[in-house]
Every structure is written in structure tokens, then in C-alpha cells.
């Protein structure tokens, strides 16, 4: 754990400086001359902002929004099965993994025999939530994902507790508003692509049975 004193720029066994060497002003600085260079900077920015209006750095927020990545951790979404029921199986992993303890689930027996449980109540307290994405990491069913919607406003604390119905609604929004979702390694994305292509081939073959006959003959 010893260090070369030179790396610390300290000479050998040294004493720390007990004196101060404050900066001294030059004559030009005393005469406020460098302020002219500073003025040039602000003037340059002023005119650039006027004439390159399209390149301006500010945005007019509610109308105009920043483009967020597809990993943005915003309002949660409970995904659904094709029949519209939630994919959630009430396993409580998200509630366990939540560092803010903001997820409240009450499980019930599912009417579907293939599925054991479903959430009767699924609530997220948006004021407690820290939007860390741990629930998404924990979910083994891809039942909870996040959207890139970050403006949530409430009139009361009660409203901030968002229930199942509201969490399932955002899934109807367009796919480009989806946020933080489970991550797939690139390789598996390729496999998924190959699988999809294989399905496409099967579908294509089914669509055109005469072509196979032609090949057989």
C-alpha cells in the first residue's frame, strides 16, 4: 500500500504547505481589460443563438420534449396477455426487490387452471417509488416494465397510489413510449431473429402449398 511520494508530488518526508500563495493580478487584470474578451464570448453566444435558431440548446418543454432512450425509467406498465388479463402471477418478487417498499400486491387464485395466482390488487405508490427499475429486474414473467412517461402529477396523496387498471392502461400507448425493459444479450437477440425467420419460413410454406408440390414433382 505504499506509494511513490513523487506520484503525490510531495518531496520525501514533507510538511504540508503552511503558507498560501494566492493568485496575483497582472496590470491588465487590474485595469479590467480581460473583461473585453469575456464580452466577446457573450456577444458571440448572443448572435449565434439568434442566427442559428434551429441549433439552440433550449427546448420549449411541454410542447417540445427531449428524446429519451428506450431504457428510460418512467411510469410503470403492467403487461397483459392476449386476452387482456395481467401477465403478473403475484409472485411478490418485485415487491421484495423494491428498495422503497412501494409495491403492494394482494394475490388471489386464478380462474385459469394453468395459472396459479393473479394479483387482485396491484398498487404502486408513485410518491414512494424511486424509479430504480429493480421491479423490472426482478420480474420473472416480464409482467412489469417501464414507460418513458415521467410527468405524473397528482392532486392528493391518495391519487399517487396507482392501481392495476391504471398500470395496465399505459400499455396501449405506442411502442416508442416504452422504457426500461428486460435486457436481452445481443446473441439471444440474434437467436430470436433466427427463430422468427424460421416461423416466417413455416408460415410462408403453409401459405403456398402448391410450391412444395411443384418441387416434389
Amino acid at each position: 500500500m505504499t506509494v511513490d511520494p513523487k506520484a503525490l508530488r510531495l518531496p520525501g518526508v514533507q510538511v504540508h504547505p503552511t503558507t498560501l500563495e494566492p493568485r496575483r493580478m497582472t496590470l491588465a487584470e487590474r485595469l479590467y481589460l480581460p473583461l473585453l474578451a469575456g464580452m466577446m464570448v457573450t456577444i458571440r453566444h448572443f448572435f449565434l443563438n439568434i442566427f442559428r435558431f434551429k441549433k439552440k440548446v433550449t427546448i420549449e418543454y411541454p410542447e417540445e420534449r427531449r428524446a429519451y432512450s428506450h431504457r428510460y425509467r418512467g411510469h410503470h406498465i403492467l403487461t397483459t396477455r392476449p386476452d387482456g388479463s395481467p401477465r403478473c402471477v403475484a409472485c411478490f418478487l418485485c415487491a421484495t426487490n423494491c428498495p422503497a417498499d412501494c409495491i403492494h400486491i394482494e394475490a388471489g387464485e386464478s380462474p385459469d387452471v394453468n395459472i396459479e395466482k393473479y394479483p387482485v390488487v396491484y398498487e404502486i405508490d408513485m410518491l414512494r417509488c424511486v424509479f430504480c427499475g429493480y421491479c423490472v429486474d426482478a420480474c420473472p414473467e416480464e409482467a412489469i416494465i417501464m414507460s418513458n412517461n415521467h410527468d405524473m402529477a397528482f392532486y392528493s396523496r391518495e391519487q399517487s397510489i396507482v392501481g392495476k387498471a391504471d398500470l395496465m392502461k399505459p400499455f396501449t400507448i405506442s411502442p416508442d413510449r416504452l422504457g426500461y425493459r428486460p435486457y436481452y444479450p445481443e446473441e439471444d437477440a440474434r437467436h430470436a431473429e433466427m427463430r422468427r425467420q424460421a416461423f416466417d419460413l413455416v408460415a410462408a410454406a403453409r401459405a403456398k402449398p402448391p410450391a412444395r408440390d411443384a418441387a416434389a414433382s
Binding site: 504547505p17 473583461l35 431504457r71
Partner: protein
């Protein structure tokens, strides 16, 4: 190979200073178990002796082991800048009499740390001039970090017990003003964060002042004890929230050392780059707010433009801008986005012109120089004694930087230097941060030129990192690991470790103790701005009220980290 013990130890009675060795001893740094009777003498020797020269007191904190005979433990982390050596002193204390001598005569930094240990554990420091609660309210009862303290307990905090500052300063014959006590804060536009500065002013000059903190105490250390190791990461975001990525790295490194795992090169590479970007962000905020407080608003916008762009980069990796939670124990939360290098390179082109613009506006500007040069100056010797680390220490002429002194991640593979200035005042703190931004940019550039290392972004160990989602859906083992990791947490072997990184405002340390269960036994944060802010009354004595405001930004006191 344990380092040699200093010769002066022979003078102490046998058994009063016992270096911990062998099985069960901490492996991260030298640890001595010290009897409290000899503590003050030992500290004097450690500080003064040429052999050891432990000139920097990093922190003091308490530990509570209810099952032990001597229940409490006061832990001291010392650092020797000339020797680059670390030492941990442990002072066991009985529950019936948790008293030990104060080490303020040796290190002034001990002042607030001892108050914190008193507040949280009820350790009584003999000889402390002002031993009262620091993070909790005066009417608070009990000591919150003791293991038997019920965290769900609520107290009614009345005002009759509230601390009333009594500021005294010798009268001066020539003053023509009446003395007046004024409050800056807790809620004041010029205090960045909620803390209260009570100042006794003589006209415009501050003759004495006291600070009250604790308005933003969030029990982070107590909460960590009831959550799994992985769940602590979002808490660390909220320490120094200007550079939350560095906090993530610091915490994860400490736990990784405890686990004895190695992070894949891809994650290390990304951590180094993003730490440097976060450092730039933090410096930009510190300088920007210093300048705004001095009336220079324009720079703030130039600075915030580059901050905004860096936020965008972080968001593309992890999905959040401020509280990133981007690290996981063993790596990162997700792979780097495909355009990561391209975006980073674009940032390297965007940032320097903005920094140069600010330099042109400010560096030689007499209006700022008059406000900043010689204001709140502290020399190197004093700064070390007060426990300074980071840019504030380097601006006082001591070139201590954990990235250089104890290189971690990739800092020893790139070429860069530690800028050091000798003024120790508001101006040099500003200037030093500007120089460090340039160094950070150079580090990033070198790393980007090296190219992204191939490989996984998180360790391939199902006992530490969650398996990939598709494996979790398709393989039974991965599914079991996934459940076990979330339900039980990472099983960290029993032990203790002090992991540190060079945070944006000094050495950020995480002292993690594990008892082998899935939850931390204790996570102790060494907040860099805590000792720095404790010296504030000395810094501003004799300066005007307006200088208080100018100083505060440059110290980069972040309430989230100060009070945890």
C-alpha cells in the same frame, strides 16, 4: 505481509495496542485494537512520529455488536499522506461505560465525527467541547444506529429542547457597530441544501459562527441494514447526487472486494469513463453555483449545457438522469448502448469549448478575482488537519488523489496528472476544478481510443448477478438462482472492508461489514464534504456575509451526502 510496526509501540503497556492478524482479521487494511486508556497518546504518536505520520483522520464512527462482551466499538480510519498508508483503530467499549477520550487535540476533523458517533451510538467522548447531537433533533431519544433501536419508533420533537446557539467572540474596541446574530438558512436561496449557519456579525464582518445540520438526514445507514446488498445501490445515488455514478461505483467496489470477485473489463472500462463524466458534472455544478452566487449567471448556462449532454449519455445507459443506479455488484445494470462511444466522442467535442468560454469569462475577470482571491483561504497543513480531501485539499497545495495514490479501475493505465494549486482560497478551488475537468476529459479520450473491451457487462456468477432474462425464462437453474438472489440477496461472506473511490469532492469511502446473512450488518459512508463543512466557521471568520455565500459553492457541500 503486514507492514512493520512502529518502534514507539514498545512504550505502550503490553496488550493495550494489539494488531489484528491471522484468521478473522480484516484483510483490506491494517487494523489495531486499542484500549481506550492509551488512545489519545497513541493518536498523538501516530500523528507526530516521523515513522507513521498519520496526518489525515478520514473518519470516526461507532459499531454495535450486542452479542459481544464489549458491545460498542469506536473505529478510526487514519491515512498517512506521505506514506500512502492506511490504518484502522478499533476501540472496544463496554455498554455500561461507553466513554473514550476525544482526539480533537490531534485532529480537528474529529469534532463532527465524534458528535455523530455520540448521536448515533451514544459513545461519549471525554474532552469534546461541544458534544451534542448533530444529525438528529435535540428532542430525539435513544441512539438510532444501535442494533436494539426500533427503527419504527416515532418521537414528538418539541421546540422547548431546541438548541440555542450562544456565539461569543472577544469584543473589539474599535468596532462602531452593534453585534447581531443572523441566520443563513436552513431555507435560504444561497445555501445549496438545507443547513443553518448562525453567524454573529459585527457590521458586515462575521466574528463567530456555528453550523447546524441534520435537516436532510435520511437514515441511509440504518435502512441499509434492513435491505439486501443490492438494494443499497439506489440509496447511494442520493448521497452526492451531482455525481451519483461515482457513489454507485464506490459502494459496488467495496462489496465486490468483500466478495472477492473481479468485475469484467467491459464494466470496469465503462465505470472509469462514466465516473470521469460524473466528475465533470459535479465540478461543473460546484463551479457554476460558486459563480452564480458571485453574480455570474452566464457561466451557469454554459456549464449546464454540458451537464445536460452528460445526463443524456447516462440516461442512454441506465434510463435515469440524476439518480442513476447504474452499477450492480459485479458490473453494470445493462450493456452499453450501441452508440455509447460515438456519443462520448461527441461530448468530448462539446465540452471543451464551453469550458474555455467560462475560462475566458472568469479566469482573469477582476470582478470575480476581487470576490474570490484570498477569501476563505486555508493552508495545506490546516486543511489536512481538518480532514479535507479532494479538490479543496488539492487547491491548498496537497496533491492527494486516491486515483493516483491507490489506483483502482483503469486509472493507472492512462496518463494524467493531479493538478495542485497553492492559494487555498475560493479562486483556487474554482480554478482547480477547471483543471481537473481537463484531466478528466483526457482520461476519457485515452480510454475511448482504446476501444470498448469485449465481454460481458456483469460478472457471470449466478450467486452475485442476476442471470440474463432469457436464461431465466428457459432454464430451471437460472430461474432458481434468480429467485434466490432476489429473495435472500447476495450471500456476502462475513468480514469487513473499507472500499474507497475518489469522489468528486474527496475520498468517498464505504465501510461494509457483513455477518454472512443476505443483508449488510453495517454500511458506513465516509462523506467527503462532512469534515470539509465542519471547518466552515473557521473559514469564514473575519469575512463578510457575502463571502459566506461565495465560499459555500466552492466547498461543494452536498446535503444529501453530508447527512446521509
Amino acid at each position: 505481509m503486514p507492514p512493520e510496526l512502529p518502534s514507539f509501540l514498545a512504550r505502550f503497556p503490553a496488550g493495550s495496542v494489539v494488531p489484528q492478524t491471522g484468521a478473522g482479521a480484516p484483510v483490506d487494511q491494517e487494523t489495531w485494537v486499542v484500549r481506550r486508556e492509551v488512545l489519545l497518546d497513541l493518536c498523538r504518536e501516530l500523528h507526530a512520529s516521523r515513522e507513521t505520520r498519520f496526518d489525515l483522520l478520514l473518519e470516526i464512527f461507532g459499531m454495535d455488536y450486542p452479542e459481544r462482551e464489549q458491545r460498542f466499538e469506536a473505529v478510526y480510519h487514519l491515512y498517512s499522506i506521505p506514506n500512502g498508508r492506511r490504518l484502522r483503530l478499533k476501540v472496544p467499549l463496554a455498554a455500561s461505560d461507553p466513554t473514550l477520550p476525544s482526539v480533537i487535540p490531534v485532529w480537528k476533523a474529529a469534532d463532527w465525527f465524534e458528535r455523530e458517533a455520540f448521536d448515533m451510538f451514544g459513545l461519549v467522548f471525554d474532552g469534546h467541547p461541544n458534544l451534542r447531537r448533530i444529525l438528529t433533533h435535540e428532542a430525539f431519544q435513544g441512539h438510532a444506529l444501535r442494533k436494539d433501536y426500533d427503527a419504527a419508533k416515532r418521537w414528538i420533537l418539541t421546540e422547548d429542547k431546541i438548541w440555542q446557539p450562544r456565539l461569543e467572540a472577544p469584543e473589539r474596541g474599535d468596532s462602531m457597530f452593534e453585534r447581531m446574530t443572523i441566520n443563513l438558512g436552513p431555507s435560504h436561496p444561497a445555501t445549496h441544501g438545507t443547513f443553518r449557519i448562525v453567524a454573529l456579525v459585527d457590521g458586515e464582518e462575521i466574528v463567530a459562527s456555528e453550523i447546524e445540520i441534520g435537516y436532510l438526514h435520511r437514515c441511509m445507514e440504518k435502512m441499509s441494514e434492513t435491505h439486501t446488498w443490492q438494494q443499497v445501490i439506489p440509496y447511494t445515488d442520493r448521497l452526492n447526487y451531482c455525481s451519483s455514478f461515482i457513489n454507485n461505483v464506490g459502494y459496488c467496489r467495496s462489496v465486490e472486494q468483500l466478495l472477492g470477485i473481479e468485475v469484467p473489463p467491459r464494466a470496469v472500462w465503462a465505470r472509469t469513463i462514466l465516473s470521469e463524466f460524473s466528475r465533470i458534472m459535479d465540478h461543473v455544478v460546484a463551479n457554476g453555483s460558486t459563480l452564480v452566487d458571485c453574480g455570474a449567471l452566464t457561466n451557469f448556462w454554459y456549464f449546464y449545457q454540458c451537464r445536460e449532454e452528460i445526463y443524456g449519455l447516462l440516461e442512454s445507459l441506465c434510463g435515469a438522469r440524476l439518480t442513476v443506479s447504474a452499477c450492480r455488484i459485479g458490473g453494470l445494470l445493462a450493456d452499453l448502448p450501441p452508440d455509447f462511444v460515438e456519443r462520448s466522442r461527441r461530448l468530448l467535442e462539446t465540452i471543451p469549448p464551453l469550458i474555455s468560454d467560462v475560462e475566458t469569462l472568469i479566469d482573469k475577470n477582476r470582478i470575480f478575482l476581487d470576490r474570490a482571491v484570498g477569501v476563505a483561504a486555508i493552508n495545506g497543513e490546516e486543511a489536512v488537519n481538518w480532514g479535507y480531501t479532494g479538490p479543496c485539499l488539492r487547491a491548498s497545495g496537497v496533491g492527494l488523489d486516491a486515483r493516483k495514490a491507490h489506483p483502482y479501475d483503469l486509472y493507472d493505465t492512462v496518463e494524467w496528472e493531479v493538478p495542485v494549486l497553492r492559494g487555498g482560497d475560493v479562486y483556487d478551488r474554482y480554478r482547480l476544478r477547471m483543471l481537473e475537468i481537463r484531466q478528466s476529459l483526457s482520461i476519457i479520450r485515452q480510454l475511448l481510443d482504446r476501444g470498448v473491451p469485449e465481454g460481458p457487462f456483469v460478472i457471470d456468477d449466478p450467486h452475485v448477478a442476476l442471470p440474463p432474462k432469457d436464461a431465466c425464462y428457459n432454464q430451471m437453474e437460472s430461474m432458481i438462482y434468480h429467485f434466490k438472489l432476489i429473495m435472500d440477496g447476495i450471500q456476502v461472506p462475513p468480514g469487513e472492508n473499507y472500499g474507497f473511490v475518489e469522489g468528486a469532492n474527496g475520498e468517498l469511502g464505504f465501510y461494509c461489514v457483513s455477518d454472512g446473512s443476505g443483508k449488510p450488518y453495517r454500511v458506513r459512508v465516509r462523506p467527503p464534504c462532512f469534515p470539509i463543512f465542519s471547518s466552515f466557521p473557521t473559514l469564514i471568520r473575519g469575512h463578510g456575509v457575502s463571502d459566506v455565500v461565495a465560499t459555500l459553492g466552492g466547498l461543494n457541500v452536498i446535503a444529501g451526502e453530508l447527512e446521509r
